[in-house]
Symmetry: D2
Subunit: 398 residues, 4 copies
C-alpha cells in the first residue's frame, strides 16, 4: 500500500523522527558504571513533566495497565475501601482491577460521555466521617469517550471534607498532553505510559508517587514483586534498576522529555487544545455530528469520540477507513461499540496531518452513506487553524 498509514488512534501515537532515532540503538550494559550519569538526571526531569517536586517517578517495563497495578499493590490492602466512578472502558477496566485485587469498591456509574461526578464524590467523602475511604480513583482522560475530568475539583472535594484519602489518577492519555499538576492538585499516584503524550513505542509504565503514597508501601498488604516500589527505590537511588530495564526506551524517554521541556509544557498543552478544537469544529459544525462527550467541559484535548447517526455502525467506519484508505481510527469500545469512532489527536501532530485525516474520514463517511458534505469538516478546521495560528504560543507566552 502506497503512502503512510494515517495513525489517529488515541495511542500509540506518531513517533517523531528524532525520538525514533533515539530509540534505535545498540543494546547497552544496564549495570555500566556510568549508567547512573544517564538515569539520575532523567528521574529528576521526569518530575517536571508531572509537575511534582516532592514526588518520585518510577519506570517499569510494561504498559499503563501495569502502572495501575503498581499503584494499587504498593499502597493498598485487600478490603480497603475505595471510591471511583465509571464512564468508559478504561475507567471500567480500572474498577475491574480494583475488584480483582479484592478492594471494597464504591463505584459510581455515570453516563458514558460524562466524567468524574465531583459533586457526588464530595457528598460521599463528606459522609465518610469515619474516613474509611482509603483512596479516591479518577480517570483524568477517559480514552474511550473523549472525556476529561476535573482532578483539581476532586482535590477540592477532599480538602472540603478534610478527608485523608489518597488520590489516584489515570493520566495515561492526558499526561504530557493535557495540563496535569501533581503537587498543586495533591495527586498521590499518577499513572502514565510511554506510547501517548511521550511519543514513544509502547513498553514503559511511568508512575509518579507522592511521599504519602510512598509511605503507604510499608503497610500495604498486597503481594507484589515485579512492580514493587521498595526494590525500585533502593536501586534507583544508585541510578540502577532491580532487573533489566528497557534501555532503548529509556534513551528515547530522555529525548522525549527534552523535547517536551524544550517546547515548554504550557505550549504543549495549548498546542493540543488547538489541534483538538479544530477537530471538534469539523465534527460538530462541519459534519453536524455529535461528540460522545456530553458538554464542552468534558471535551478531551487528546481524543474525540464521534457518534455516528442512528442506523449506522461505527465499527464499519473504522474498518472501511483502514482497508480503503489506510487510516487507523479508534473503535468504539464496550457500551459505545458500534456507536462511536475515535480520532486521536495527541502527540506529534500538526494541522496538515489532521486536515488529512479529516478529509479521510469524510471519504469514509460518504462512502458508507452517512450524510456529511464533502469538505465540510475540513473547511471548519482550515479556518479555525489558520485564524488561531500563533495564538497558542502567544497565550502560553503571557
Amino acid at each position: 500500500m502506497a503512502g503512510r498509514n494515517a495513525l489517529f488512534i488515541p495511542g500509540p501515537t506518531n513517533i517523531p523522527d528524532h525520538i525514533r532515532s533515539a530509540v534505535d540503538l545498540s543494546m547497552e550494559d544496564m549495570r555500566a558504571p556510568d549508567f547512573p550519569e544517564f538515569t539520575l538526571p532523567l528521574f529528576q526531569d521526569l518530575k517536571k513533566i508531572f509537575k511534582t517536586e516532592t514526588g518520585q517517578v518510577f519506570l517499569f517495563p510494561g504498559s499503563g495497565t501495569g502502572g495501575w497495578e503498581a499503584a494499587i499493590t504498593n499502597t493498598l490492602s485487600p478490603g480497603d475501601k475505595v471510591l471511583i466512578s465509571r464512564f468508559g472502558q478504561f475507567s471500567h477496566l480500572w474498577v475491574d482491577m480494583l475488584e480483582r485485587f479484592k478492594l471494597d469498591v464504591d463505584c459510581i456509574d455515570v453516563e458514558w460521555g460524562e466524567g468524574v461526578p465531583v459533586e457526588e464524590f464530595a457528598k460521599r467523602l463528606e459522609a465518610d466521617t469515619n474516613k474509611e475511604i482509603k483512596a479516591v480513583f479518577a480517570c483524568h482522560n477517559e480514552t474511550a469517550t473523549g472525556v476529561t475530568s476535573d482532578i483539581a475539583g476532586i482535590r477540592k472535594a477532599l480538602d472540603a471534607a478534610d478527608h485523608p484519602a489518597m488520590l489516584y489518577v489515570d493520566g495515561v492519555s492526558s499526561i504530557a498532553s493535557i495540563d496535569f499538576c501533581m503537587d498543586e492538585w495533591g495527586v498521590d499516584l499518577a499513572v502514565s505510559g510511554s506510547q501517548k503524550g511521550f511519543m514513544l513505542p509502547t513498553g514503559l509504565a511511568i508512575v509518579a508517587v507522592s511521599q504519602k503514597a510512598l509511605e503507604a508501601r510499608h503497610t500495604a498488604q498486597h503481594t507484589r514483586c515485579f512492580f514493587d516500589f521498595e526494590d525500585m527505590i533502593k536501586t534507583n537511588a544508585q541510578g540502577y534498576f532491580p532487573y533489566t530495564p528497557a534501555t532503548t526506551l529509556l534513551r528515547g524517554l530522555r529525548a522525549s522529555v527534552d523535547t517536551l521541556l524544550g517546547e515548554g509544557l504550557d505550549n504543549v498543552f495549548a498546542r493540543h487544545n488547538r489541534m483538538a478544537e479544530g477537530v471538534r469544529r469539523a465534527v460538530t459544525e462541519g459534519w453536524g455530528l455529535d461528540l460522545c462527550a456530553k458538554e464542552p467541559k468534558w471535551y478531551s484535548d487528546t481524543v474525540s469520540a464521534i457518534c455516528v447517526p442512528e442506523g449506522f455502525d461505527s465499527a464499519e467506519v473504522v474498518r472501511h477507513a483502514y482497508y480503503e484508505y489506510n487510516i487507523s481510527l479508534g473503535v468504539g469500545l464496550s457500551k459505545v461499540a458500534g456507536k462511536v469512532f475515535r480520532i486521536g489527536h495527541l502527540g506529534s501532530l500538526n494541522e496538515t496531518m489532521l486536515l488529512g485525516v479529516l478529509g479521510g474520514v469524510e471519504m469514509t463517511l460518504r462512502d458508507l452513506g452517512i450524510p456529511v458534505e464533502a469538505g465540510s469538516g475540513v473547511a471548519q478546521a482550515v479556518d479555525y487553524y489558520r485564524t488561531t495560528r500563533g495564538q497558542a504560543l502567544a497565550a502560553a507566552a503571557e
Copy 2:
C-alpha cells in the same frame, strides 16, 4: 515543531519505512566475493522498470544531472548537431549543458506550460535530409511546469523521417511513476535518479542505454572518466563497479525495485494518475486556479504547477506554507518564479496525505488573501478519490 514536515516537492519524495530500513545499513565490502550475487540480479530487474530487454542500466553515484552528463559525454562529440526544445527550467538546464559540451544545439523554445512540439520536431527531422542531427533530446516530464511530453510521438516523427538520430529522454521525474517504454518507443538514453519515483534518498543517477547508444561510445570524442560507460560495462559484467559504489543506496534500490514490480508497474502508473487527478480537480474546480500546463494533454501525473492570480507572489505561498504550517511545496523557477507554486504528487503517497496538503494549501492561500473557499479543493478531491476508489487497480487488471 510538532508533527511531520509535509513533503510535497516533486522530489526528493517520501521514503517508505521499509525502503528506509533497507538503506539504514552497516557498510559492506563492495569487493566481497558474493557481492555480484546481489548486483547482477539488480541490474537485470532494473531493466524491467525501464521496460527494456535489450538495453543496459548503469548506476552512478550522483544525481539526474550527472546522468545527463553521462548520456552526453559517452555518446556524442563536440560539434554534433542536436535537436531539443525548451519549456521549463529542467529542459533549459539540459540545453545549457549541451551548449557547455559544445554541441551544435537546435533549440526550439515553446511557451512554458506546453511540452515537446512533436510536429515541429517532425518537420525539422524531415528537413534534415543529410541526417546531420545526431540526437533528439526530450524532457519526458518537465518538473518546473508540470508538463508531460509525448515521447512515443517523437519516435513516430523519427521513424516517419526515417531518421537515425538517437533519442535521449530526461525521465528523472517520470520513470517509475509515469509509463515509460524504452524499447517500444525506441529510446536510446533514458536518465533517472533515485530520489523521485524510486522513493530513495538522493545519490544515484540511473541511466538506461540502448545497444545503439552503447556502440556510440566508441566514436564519442568527449572526455569522460567518472561517468564512463566502458569502465562500468567491464566491471558491471562481473558484478562490480569501477570505484566505490553507494552500497546503502544500492541495497535500498533492491527494495525499491521489488516494491515497484510487486505492485505492478501499470498499477503504479494508474495510482499516480489517480492521485494527480484529485489534485487537479482541487486546483481547477475547487479553488478555481489555473494549472501552468496549458492543456490536459500536457498534464503531469507527478507534479502540478499552480498559477497564483495576478498580484500575488507564489514564492510567498511556498514560504508561508513552510514557516507557518511545516509544508514543503515546490517554488516557481526561473520564468515562472513568483507565478507558480508546485505540489509534487509522486512516490509513496495516498489520499489522506494529499488531502492534508490540499487543506494546508487552503490555509496558506487564505492567509495570504488569495480568494479560495475553505474546504473547496479538499471537497473536490474527497469525492474524486472516493468515487474512483479501486478503479485504478481494476483498470490495470483488465
Copy 3:
C-alpha cells in the same frame, strides 16, 4: 569514544542489523482488523522455539522477572509448598520472589558453581508421599555463575517418584541458545525474555505454559491482573491483547523467530556451544584461571563466570575494561561479587567478536597485574575455533 562498545554481558545481547531494523518501526494500531494475521502465526511459531506442541506461549510487556511473577501468580496459591535450590543470584531472586508471594519454600542451598542437585530433589520428591509439593523450580542457566542444570534429570526424578508437582523453569538465559525441550522434559512453565537468545531489546517476558499449568489458573488464589493468563487467553485467541502490546518488539520477535528457525535450533545450540568452548579454553588453558562452574557438566554455553586469583578484585576488572577499553563485562553479583567477572557469549556473535573481547580482557588483566600471558587466551581460542570450523554445522546435520 571511537569504535563500538564491546557488549559481552550475558544479556542484553547484540542485536543483528536486520532485527534492529525490524524493531525500528512506526507505531501501528494494535486493534487493526488485520493485526491477527500477524500475531496468530507468531504465537504458533514461538511454540517451536520452546519445543512444545501442546503448550501456549504468552508475551507480556516486561522482563524475565515479570515472567516469573506471571508463572507463580497464575498457577499457585499462598501457602503452596514448592521445592527449589539456590546457587546464584538469579536462583536467589526467584526464591525471594516465592517467599514474597508467601509460598512455603523448601530451598536447598548448594555451593555457587554447582547447579540443581537432582539427586537431592529426587530424595525429597520420593519422601513427599502425600504429594504436598505443588511445584518444583529450576533455574536452567544460572547467569550469575555460568552454570547450566539438568532439567531432563529433574523430570526423571519427578517421574521416578510418580510425583504430580509442576515443573517451573527459568530459561531466561538459556532458551533460544541452549537446548530446551518443553514437551519432552515435561516442563509446565518456562520463562524467557526478549533480550538474550532472542537478540531483541529488553521489554518482553516470554512465558510458555503447559495445559496442566493452564488448568491451574482456575484454582490459583494469587491476585493478578497485568500478568493474568485468562485475559491473555481470551484476547490472544482472536489475535489481540488485553492491553496495548509492545508492537515494535513483537515485529522484532517475528524477525528473531524467523532467524532462529531459519538457522535451525540445533545449529543455534551447536554454535553457542562452540563459541563457549573457545572462551573456556582461553580461560582455563590459556590464562590458567578457574571458571566459577565447578565441573564441566555445569558449564554454561551462554555465559562464563571467571574467577580472579586471590588478592584481586573482579569488580576492578569490569570497571577497568569499561573505562579503558570500552568493553562491557558482567560483574560478580552477591556472593561472588569481587570474585568473578563474566563474559556473556550468547546471541549474535562470532569468532572474531569473541577473539576481540578475549584480547581486551587480556589487556585488562595485565594492566591490573593479574598474571596472564599476552595472547595466551586468544591463542587457545584461535586454534579451537579454526580446528572446529564447520563441525558445529556438520554435527547438527547428522
Copy 4:
C-alpha cells in the same frame, strides 16, 4: 551468519551509531528557506578538517573518483603538463584519468611500497625552468600498498624551485585520519570522500580548493558541468546547490564533522597512529610477515598491506576470511594481486575490534598453512595497546 561482519577494508569504514542515525532521515526540501542555516556553517566547519582558512570546500554527490575529475576539469586544459608518480593502484588510476583528459603526463614510476619520490620531483621542478609544469599530483595515502607520502616535502621542493605549479593531493584515505595541512603545505586541490575518515556511507566527493586553484577555473578549457566549480560557487554562496544534493549524507556529514572536531583533530590522528602501530607490531613482530611499505617512513596509519610468504596466494586469505569467518579484508590490487592482503584501520575503531580481526587473521593464515603462531600477533598488539593507553591523548594535549 551470526554476529557482525568484521569490516576491515580501508573504506568504506564502520559507521558509528550516532552518525548512522544522523543519516537515517526523512527526505527534506533542499530549497527550503532555512536550508542555508544548515549548509553555510557546515561549509565553514569543513574547512577546519582540511586545515584551510582561505580555501573553499565543495560537496558533490559522487565518490573520490568524481572528486579527482572535478579537480582536473575545473583547473586544467588538455595538453597541460603535469608531474605525478605511480606506486599503487590508486596513483595508477589517477595517472590513467590524467591521460584520459589528455594532459601531458610526466609519470615517475617507483616501486610499489614506496611513495612520492620527493627528491626526483625536486629535480624535475628545478629543471623546469620554463615553468611548463602546470600541476604536481600526489597521492597522500596510497590505499593499495599502505604507503603515506610526504606532502610537506613536495611543497618544499616547489618552493625551492620557486615553481608556480599547483599542488593536487589525493587525500581520500588520509584526510580526517592522518594529519593534513592544506594551508601550511600550500595544497591547491585536496580530494576526499565520505566513506573513509568521515565515517559515512559512500556518496560524497569532498573537494577543497585554494583561491589560486579557484582562479584557474576561468582559464581551464576542459568541458564540465556536473562537477563545475562555478555553479557550486554561485549556489553555495546562498546555501544551496546547483542540483539536488544528497541531503541525508549532508546531515550525516554535520554529525561527522562535529564528532571529529569534538575529539580534536590531533587526537584523531594520534588515535589512528596508535591503532595502526598495534597492527604493525602484530604483523612484523608477532607473525614475522613483511609490510608492503618498504620503510617505516612510508607506513600508513590508515591501512596496512601485508605480504604473504612466497608460494601463498593473498587472494585466498581474503576469500577464506570472508567465507569462513565473516571478515572483510582488502584484497591485493593489480601489481600486488595475490601478494598482499590489507587491513584497514581507519575510522571508528578501537583496540578490541582490532584484536578481534588480528585473531581472525591468525585463524585464516593458520588454516591456509601460512606459518604464524596462534596468538602471536594479538600478543604484540595487546601489550602495545595497553602500555600506550592514554598516551595518544596525552601527546595531543601537550
